[in-house]
Symmetry: C2
Subunit: 453 residues, 2 copies
């Protein structure tokens, strides 16, 4: 019976009661963030103007299983647990003996995994009496997730959206407004950092770095306002572990243990969310999957970046983070997977990569969309551009299994649907999509701008 | 425990094994379609150029429980059973003692209930050796569902999309292409009916009636091609009854029996899909819900149309259907709920309305979007414009319950998500959305054009 199953759904009572903090199980603790002026480790007081106390505590904690507040679990019930699906039709189309499973996060209100952390972030801020959250967004996945979460807790939400996306992706902007958020095109005249840029470059298309600066400026200058980040930080990765905890139970219901787990990695929260609980099981000797991150050829922080202290933003306003980075001045080519266009990688994941706890590969954009199209035509769901990177790797691995006959069990994270990204598929189908091989000299130039380089 | 549940999910083994054909339980059979020239009932031979034999059989059958082919159930497993959700947060925001439940169909590959019938239609055509399906689409929900279904069965899919939508909704067009369909702007130069219109009106924005004519022309002229329709016909309504069958089991799991069931109705397939199985239970005396259809003020075929034989399309190419109609020449004002802009109502539902088996009301566009926005901000899901009509009625009923204190159990069909319709929400939020009260003289004029009038 179970061998025949296609989708494993869990009852809402199976929503995890705890997040999993992998820091508790690392042989070496990750290096701390440093203050850019003093080069001393950043303390809770430095972060208090930007984040509420409970998130700062989670950021530095080594507690293995922090409890998920019941209020957060109650909002999770709107879409969690999410399905784990055996991709039988994809397998058949590839003629592979591999068994392919995907954990699907696209059924959330905003269509991606981002609400998993947006909800607890809004909750902890609301509990501390905060009135308003600010954030930045590029393609809009994070901004719409935070807008949804703020609506749940009666918080105001103010989003700085990179102007190029604001103009090109009006639907994501509209989704944030539907949830009640105020959306500014960044650079905006309402902050001094934005106004300064506009004075010099009135036609600036903006950047994630500029948008971060604006959101941080507003949060830092108002005691009732805080800032929220959608990836990279420890507490964000922590919140995403609900994905992996559910997947462990669902794979067991299928009677399977994964041989290979594949996820796309931009800032790293989707990848960490699926893999950290499986890594715990691996560290405990209860299973032995290979874990592999997939990044875009155009922005390969793990596979071609360096491991060094760097700024988290383009403008150099954040603490220094020890991470795999292409340099904070690196501007990735305009691939459609906006969520993977980040110059660095989560410091926690970077540290674990140094410890040899997972592998990384890079994939070119067109092969990713080819895999996304195959997935849509077989499994029905149109994947967002980001998870097509993981799918390209899954397809390649499944085809290797066709050669070898290996019945490998592959698990991947399908972290969002592509209903907002159909223009990208259209470009692919029209033969107008480009790849962006990255010359080494561009990396070298950007790395020359590292602090202390 | 169950009283606390928010979402009831069913295991895939609970996908219904049979559709429910309500014709078997009607006290009077519905009037047959008539040939427009002979005025004789249309027979299977008349329909054979357009539909495969098994669908024609289902169109005229009185078999109570036709079996769902295993191949169709296997495709349904990609997203069915769909969740039934208690809208606790919506209830709280309304301060109502009513208990509100919604059956959510937006998690399907194309984001609506339409694949429930697209899949069996593709299946029966493929079984008969048909190579290609043609259809028309307005806003694109139906076209993308059929494109998905054809990809599952290796059929070519050719869609005529009303030019106004083709130009304004490029993402729906792209979704059809992702699934492998060919999409024409209608009127198109590839059919004689389209070419004729283009010769006279090169700038024609098209209409659903014109698009139907083109799709039917191509299907009728090629023995390996058939035509597919996404609503109105008996076999389409039949296929949608999987919605209601699952909902009966899920409401029982909640320990509830609905007092009121509300659905939006354009051609009628979503409304029929949810309500027919409950009507069977009502006819058998096992429950006693009030059943209510909600249509747009701008296109009120049930509440202000007449019950008469009329053409199903604008051009007068189809058989004559006895139905509630505003006249096949009626052109609804441009409301955003494209799926509800149909001059008629399913003949089967029209017949049942005459038998007094359900009620109907009409709602204005802005109050529908107001309800949709409230739903998004409480329940997270952004509803498509069509089901906001049902939500407006649910909200009004829940507010009545707040006055009376009645703990009414309300069930509604949330038949699709609104991620493709955010421009409409933007117009609402910007205060630019209009209502379209319908003057009686426009109805009178259109009804004067009825065949035989």
């Amino acid at each position: 019976m179970m061998a025949e199953a296609t989708r494993i759904l869990l009852d809402e009572s199976r929503i995890p009661r705890n997040w999993y903090n992998i820091v508790a199980d690392l042989p070496v603790p990750p290096p701390p963030p440093l203050h850019p002026v003093t080069s001393e480790p950043v303390g809770p007081d430095d972060l208090a103007p930007l984040f509420p106390a409970e998130l700062i505590e989670q950021e530095v904690s080594a507690e293995r299983f922090p409890a998920i507040p019941e209020s957060v679990r109650d909002v999770y019930r709107l879409w969690r647990p999410t399905p784990l699906v055996r991709a039988r039709r994809l397998e058949r189309s590839l003629g592979t003996p591999a068994r392919i499973y995907y954990k699907y996060e696209g059924g959330s209100p905003s269509g991606s995994h981002k609400p998993n952390t947006a909800v607890p972030q809004a909750y902890y801020n609301a509990r501390q009496g905060i009135r308003r959250l600010t954030t930045e967004t590029g393609a809009g996945q994070w901004g719409s997730a935070l807008a949804f979460a703020c609506a749940q807790y009666g918080l105001e939400c103010e989003v700085w959206m990179v102007r190029a996306s604001y103009d090109q992706k009006p639907h994501r902007r509209s989704l944030m407004r539907v949830y009640g958020a105020t959306v500014h095109a960044s650079p905006s005249p309402v902050t001094s950092s934005g106004a300064g840029i506009l004075a010099e470059y009135p036609e600036s298309p903006g950047s994630l770095g500029i948008a971060i600066s604006e959101a941080v400026e507003v949060a830092g200058s108002d005691p009732e306002t805080r800032y929220a980040l959608g990836s990279v930080l420890n507490h964000v990765l922590l919140h995403q572990t609900v994905i992996g905890e559910e997947a462990i139970e669902q794979m067991a219901a299928f009677g399977e243990a994964p041989d290979l787990i594949v996820g796309c990695a931009g800032g790293g929260s989707n990848f960490a969310g699926l893999t950290f609980p499986f890594l715990r099981e691996k560290l405990a000797g209860r299973m032995d999957p290979v874990i592999r991150a997939v990044e875009p050829e155009a922005c390969p922080s793990l596979t071609r970046g360096t491991y060094a202290y760097d700024f988290g933003d383009a403008a150099g306003f954040t603490p220094l983070l020890k991470m795999h980075t292409l340099g904070h001045g690196f501007i990735p080519d305009p691939i459609h997977a906006g969520g993977l266009r980040y110059h660095g990688m989560s410091p926690l994941l970077s540290h674990m990569y140094e410890l040899g706890m997972f592998e990384a590969v890079a994939r070119a954009q067109t092969e990713c969309f080819e895999a996304g199209l195959r997935f849509a035509r077989t499994e029905g769901i149109v994947p967002a551009p980001e998870p097509t990177h993981a799918l390209a790797e899954v397809v390649a691995e499944a085809l290797r299994c066709r050669e070898t006959g290996e019945e490998k069990v592959i698990l991947t994270a399908l972290c969002g649907h592509g209903h907002f990204d159909l223009n990208a598929y259209d470009r692919y189908l029209s033969g107008e999509m480009e790849d962006f091989p990255l010359p080494q000299e561009r990396i070298d130039t950007a790395l020359a701008g590292l602090p202390g380089a």
